[in-house]
Amino acid sequence: MSYSITDPSKRQKRVAAFLVIAYAMITLVPLLWVFMTGFKTPPDSISYPPKIFSEPSLEGYVNLFTTRTRVTPERLAELPPPENFAQEIVRNRDMVIAGKSKYGARFLNSVIIGFGSTFLSIFLGTLAAYAFSRFKIPLKDDLLFFILSTRMMPPIAVAIPIFLMYRKIGLSDTHLGMILLYTAVNISLAVWLLKGFIDEIPREYEEAALIDGYTRFQAFYKVVLPQAATGIASTAIFCLIFAWNEYAFAVLLTTGTAQTAPPFIPTIIGVGGLDWPAMAAGATLFLLPVLVFTVLLRKHLLRGITFGAVRK
C-alpha cells in the first residue's frame, strides 16, 4: 500500500461513508417497501401508521395472478374444501377464484418483445458498427449522428405517424410491430456502443486472418465477433432493459394481444384503489430481473447510459 499526501484522512473517509450510506438508504427504503408490501394483506398495506412488519401473506401474489368473484356466505359454505392455499386465501375474503388474470400473458409479451427486439438490434447493430468501425463510408460522421439523433424525438411525436402507419399495414397491437419499433429505437444505442467496443479491438488480428486467406466475412465472424463478445453481451442487456421498461409506445400502440407489462401493472390496482399488495407483487416480479442485470452490468453501466461517450 502506498500512501500519498493527497489521500483523504481517516476521519474524512468516515464522514463520506456515513453520508453515502445515508443516501443509499433513501434509495433502498422505497424499493424494500414495495417488496414488503407484496407480502402484506390488503388491510395491512393501508394501515396507519404504516406497518413495517406484518404477518406475511401471499394474498398479493394470488390476487395478481387470478380474477375473483364475490359469493354469498351460504354459497361459500356449500363449496367443497379448498384444494390449495390460493383458494383458501381467496375464500377468506368471501370470494372464489374465477380465472387467470392477464398478468402472466402481459409478462410473457414483455419477454417476447424484449428478447425479439434485442436480438434484432444486436444483429443489425453489430453489422453496422463493424462497418462504421472498419470501412470508409461516405458521410460516416453525418450518418452516425443521424442514427443518434433519432433518439431525440419525443416518443409521442413518433407515435402519431407510427400509429397511422401500423393501422394501415395491420401491425397495430402485434408482437412483430412492437419488435420492429423497439429495434428502431434501440439500434442507435446498439450501433454507438458496439462501434466503441469494436474500435477497441486491434485491427492487426483481422489483418493477420486476411493474410492467412480468410475472406473479410470469415475474419468478421471468426476473429472480431469472439473478441467483441463481452461488449455485445452488455449492449444486449442495455437493449433488453430499454425494451423491458418502455411505456409510451406500449400504452399508445398496444391494447390487448401485444400489450407489455408496464402499461398493465398500473391497472392492477383497479377500482377503489385498494389492492396495493397485488400491484407491489406485480412490480416486484417485473423489476427483479432488471435489478439483477444492473448488478451484473455495473462495470459497463456508465458506458451504456452515455451511448459510449464516457468509458471507464
Binding site: 439500434i187 489483418e207 411505456y247 401493472i265 398500473p266
Partner: protein, 311 residues
C-alpha cells in the same frame, strides 16, 4: 510498394482478399440499419411534417384532408395552454437538473474519498435509474397517498406535520414538486456516475503538485476538481435535459398531468391532443415544434460543451 513482401504487410491487404469487396460488405452491413431507421423514424417524421399542414383527424380517416398551411403552427404559438405546458416543463426541467447536479456531484465527490465498501454502496444507489419509469411512477403514487403513504409518514415523522394534512399529488402547489422529487430519486445516480468518472479521470499528480505549491484544499477544489469535472457534468446535463424535455411515462403515472394542468408537461398534452382529442394535424405541428426545440437547444449546448472540452 514495389515488391511483393511490402504489399503483403501493408494495411491495405484487406482490399485484395477474395470474397465480396470491402465496399460491398460495408453497404451490406450498414444498409439494413439505415433502411429500418428510414422506415420507422424518418418516413414517420416526414409524414408528421406533412400532417402538420393539414386538418387531418385520425379518428375520421375517411374525411377529406384539407391543406391549411401554417394555421396549426399559428394556433399553437398563440395558445395560452401550450405556454402553460411549457412553463410546467421548464419548472420540471430546471429543478430536476439543479437538484440532480448538486446531489449527484456531492455523492460522487464523497464516493471518490475511496472509503471501504464504496463499490457496494455505489451499486445500490444506481439501482433506481434502471427501473421502468412507469412502474416507478406507479409505486410512488402509493408512497404519496395521504394518511397511509410512506412519504407522508416520513415527512410527518421528521417535521411533526399531520400526514393527512397534505396531498403531494392532489394539491396545485405541491404536485409540481412531487414529480421533481421522484425524478430526482430516480436519476441522481445517473449524474453521480458520470461525475464519478470525471473525478476518477483527474490524475493524482495534479493534486500532488498543488499540494507542494501549498494551494489550499478549497482552492484545489475550485481550480482543479471543478474545471476538470465540468465537461462530464455538462454531458450529464445534456442527457438529462433531452430526456426530461420528452418526459412522459413517469409523470403520467404519477399525476396524469393534474391537478388541473399544473403538471401537464408538453408530452402529456401532446398525447392528449393526439390520442384523446384526435386532433392529428394540430398535434403533428406541436410534435414538430417540440422536436425542433429540443434539437436546436441540444445543438447549441453541444457547441458549448465542445468549447469547454477543448479549453
Amino acid at each position: 510498394m514495389s515488391n511483393g513482401s511490402a504489399k503483403l504487410h501493408s494495411p491495405k491487404a484487406g482490399k485484395t482478399v477474395k470474397g465480396l469487396s470491402d465496399k460491398a460488405i460495408a453497404w451490406l452491413f450498414v444498409g439494413p440499419t439505415v433502411f429500418l431507421l428510414l422506415a420507422i423514424n424518418i418516413f414517420p417524421l416526414l409524414w408528421t411534417v406533412y400532417l402538420s399542414f393539414t386538418n387531418y383527424k385520425a379518428n375520421r380517416p375517411n374525411r377529406e384532408i384539407k391543406y391549411i398551411g401554417f394555421r396549426n403552427y399559428e394556433r399553437i404559438l398563440n395558445d395560452a395552454d401550450i405556454w402553460l405546458n411549457m412553463q410546467a416543463t421548464a419548472h420540471f426541467l430546471i429543478w430536476t437538473i439543479v437538484l440532480q447536479v448538486l446531489i449527484g456531484f456531492t455523492l460522487a465527490w464523497l464516493i471518490n474519498k475511496k472509503f471501504r465498501g464504496n463499490d457496494l454502496w455505489t451499486t445500490i444507489i444506481v439501482l433506481p435509474m434502471m427501473l421502468s419509469p412507469a412502474v416507478v411512477g406507479n409505486f410512488w403514487t402509493f408512497f404519496y397517498q395521504p394518511q397511509i403513504g410512506l412519504f407522508n409518514y416520513v415527512v410527518s415523522f421528521f417535521t411533526g406535520v399531520d400526514p393527512s394534512s397534505f396531498e403531494m399529488l392532489g394539491s396545485v402547489s405541491l404536485a409540481p414538486w412531487a414529480i421533481v422529487i421522484v425524478d430526482t430519486w430516480m436519476w441522481t445516480p445517473f449524474v453521480m456516475l458520470i461525475c464519478l468518472a470525471g473525478l476518477r479521470s483527474i490524475p493524482d499528480y495534479i493534486y500532488e503538485a498543488a499540494e507542494i505549491d501549498r494551494a489550499s484544499k478549497w482552492r484545489q477544489f475550485w481550480t482543479i476538481t471543478v474545471p476538470m469535472v465540468l465537461p462530464f457534468l455538462m454531458l450529464a446535463v445534456l442527457f438529462r435535459g433531452i430526456e426530461n424535455f420528452k418526459m412522459f411515462d413517469l409523470v403520467v403515472q404519477l399525476t396524469g398531468g393534474g391537478p388541473g394542468s399544473t403538471t401537464e408537461l408538453a408530452s402529456i398534452n401532446l398525447k392528449r391532443e393526439a390520442f384523446e382529442k384526435w386532433r392529428t394535424g394540430y398535434s403533428s405541428a406541436f410534435a414538430i415544434i417540440l422536436f425542433v426545440t429540443v434539437f436546436g437547444l441540444a445543438s447549441i449546448y453541444v457547441k458549448a460543451l465542445n468549447k469547454v472540452k477543448n479549453r
